[in-house]
Symmetry: C2
Subunit: 416 residues, 2 copies
């Protein structure tokens, strides 16, 4: 029996003019992968009748399940519903369950009268299966045609996620044939992509055809991902694990972690395991390191707090950096970073602390201290390590790289 | 003369299994729009020979310029270059300029010996125009076939951006016919999408066919975007502006700003104009509000700093919230939020301050104080405003919504 592939069509001009970044597709692909459905294509089209129609024709040639997100709102640029109605040869009818739900939202939650356009949201093509949307007014819809499944979902992320999680994902395995897919990922630091490839050349050559290796370089670190697919879940998992262990052993000098976790989760895991705490003193990152640490649920076990000393007066008044230091070696210096780290560690009474001070750009650089220069310090009982970095990107990426390298320096200090 | 459309093909399994979110396409679409090139399609395909080949065939049917990003690295999963070489009927040859550049990077920057795979990065199909990549080892490539332009770029964001900005965007208008596209966007708060549509029904009906209106709801706010396209740039801009002014006047009761700016930039603009300063005291947002404010270049003019008091001990020791308050009404209370705001304003000596305290989930909620409950306070000279919000989403989105509403409360306080 052949495997069923999925395709995702996202609808909306805002995706094509770059006003909005599509995060829905990545989430959907992840969830579909977990239940053994591979996404073969992702395509973004404009709010245009012809383009959407053509995409439906085209994607149903490649895939067995076609997801369509967006264009289900109550306004005039939302044309997905009438289009699907025509495409599948139905007519719009009131769905009583949906109307009751929409009415309930307006009466009890929004406490406003419904407009005609809101009542219209309860209309659905009579040839679809309604997919209940508990968290919004636009229901999802499922159509079947020539053995293919078409699933239309709202583009609002939390509505799409609710319908996928509660309705679509439980339903799919009863409708289509799914293959088992297993992934294992490890994260390395301190080695470039081509040198890593050289290091694991033998292990890569020894992979069976149903296991693929991918290199995912990002911000000076490289993730390696092995993906296996096959009918027998237990069998592919055993073989995948054996190859993964060999790979892991080969890269052990550069291994950060053998899971697909972001650096802030790696640090969180290490601190949780050791029962240690951390605080941050941030100048140029403006709270981004603290944000990354607290984006992980359970961070309260190890993260106490932060002082963002964007203005020099805060460095002096709150973090006790002497004015004389700021006036001589300046805010972007080893001395300032060290004192910031040691002060915040004392104020917050933590085992570790991180401090950063630098210039993220685009303005503020000098020939001596160029944009992208940053001092990072990590303090622990009796010892403070400081390192200078130079990044060469835009403001956003310089901030990200500073945060990532600061967390990595904490990781190395913690492990070393 | 017919307009030339662009299509973007992104290559990589990581995009289809959802491991990586595609931010390249949005940036490319924005930049292409600015020079009058409309992106008609965006498609993501796996690292598979057949899929990439098919996508090239298919996209060149719709578009005049086909961008291909990704798959140009030095490792075995990078197959774009040999594929393009075969697709356009060329053979791989050493490009001397690229080799000199790659050698220079290894000799002077990385200070490492080159591997064979690195030298190979200087090989290009003899049927392409090499697009110089100053910031990386993989050059871009341009092919022409049957009147269509194919542009292959590395998937690493800052390398793609460098080549686009310095090579491709200046070159395109000499190669293809571009139409003028003009957008104007305004941001509203406090009115739902359907009510907004009702409010501007007449203005919408009066739009000429070359102006499109889009509703972009996000986090309880709605952006309205007018897009005009046509041959005469001056003419479409005048007509667009006239319709935009009418729209603006109609929604004035809900208008936040008449530009396409994120809330943190709106606040930054207001504070810069008034010469006022701000600081934040953050519990549940963990520094995210400070991060948003400092993500805007020039924030040092109005943002002084922040205290992230994730742990209650920091609320007491640094922000002077009395222990008795934490023990009676608790950390998530109007009293705590008010004191946090007033304390940080005094410590940082700013005109305004923002404080937030809440529960972002997934754990930590109680029946009295459920997940998503948050107190937001804004303090200024002689007055502190506090409001309680309830959000119903996941941790990430609850943090975003809290930050956005906190910035909006500051905006309202500042304007009111």
């Amino acid at each position: 029996m052949e495997t069923d592939f999925a395709s995702i069509i996202t609808i909306g001009d805002e995706l094509l003019i770059g006003q909005v970044i599509d995060t829905n597709s990545a989430w959907m692909a992840q969830e579909l992968n977990k239940i053994g459905v591979s996404v073969k294509h992702r395509i973004a089209v404009s709010d245009s009748w012809d383009d959407i129609w053509y995409a439906l024709d085209e994607e149903s040639r490649h895939a067995s399940v076609i997801f369509i997100t967006g264009g289900l709102g109550p306004t005039s640029d939302d044309i997905t519903k009438p289009l699907l109605c025509k495409y599948f040869g139905g007519k719009l009818v009131q769905d009583e369950a949906t109307l009751a739900h929409v009415t309930n939202i307006f009466t009890n939650k929004l406490k406003r009268l419904m407009l005609e356009s809101n009542i219209k949201q309860a209309e659905v093509p009579d040839v679809c299966t309604v997919l209940f949307n508990e968290v919004g007014t636009a229901p999802g819809m499922m159509f079947e045609k020539d053995g293919k499944l078409f699933i239309s979902l709202p583009g609002v992320p939390h509505e799409m996620k609710w319908i996928m999680t509660n309705v679509v994902l439980p339903l799919l395995p009863t409708k289509i044939h799914t293959t088992n897919i297993a992934h294992r990922t490890l994260l390395t630091a301190g080695i470039g992509e081509s040198f890593l490839a050289e290091l694991i050349r033998e292990e890569e050559a020894a992979l069976p055809s149903f296991i693929k290796l991918a290199y995912l370089p990002n911000s000076g670190m490289v993730r390696l991902r092995l993906s296996a697919s096959g009918e027998d879940k237990e069998e592919i998992t055993i073989i995948l694990n054996a190859h993964f262990e060999k790979l892991k052993d080969k890269v052990k000098g550069y291994l950060v972690i053998d899971e697909d976790l972001p650096m802030e989760a790696v640090v969180g895991k290490l601190l949780t395991e050791s029962g240690k705490t951390v605080s941050t003193a941030e100048s140029c990152t403006g709270g981004y390191i603290a944000h990354l640490l607290t984006s992980i649920s359970g961070a309260s076990a190890y993260f106490r707090g932060s002082v963002v000393s964007y203005d020099n007066s805060i460095k002096t008044n709150v973090l006790n950096v002497p004015k004389s230091i700021l006036e001589t070696v300046g805010a972007i210096s080893e001395e300032t970073a060290r004192i910031m780290a040691e002060s915040v560690r004392a104020i917050m009474q933590t085992d570790y602390s991180i401090a950063v001070s630098g210039i993220m750009g685009p303005d503020g650089g000098t020939s001596e201290k160029p944009v992208g220069m940053v001092w990072i310090a990590v303090a622990k009982e009796g010892k403070t390590i400081a390192k200078c970095f130079y990044f060469h990107h835009n403001r956003e990426r310089n901030i990200q790289l500073t945060a990532l390298n600061a967390l990595n320096l904490l990781r190395i200090t913690h492990c070393g």
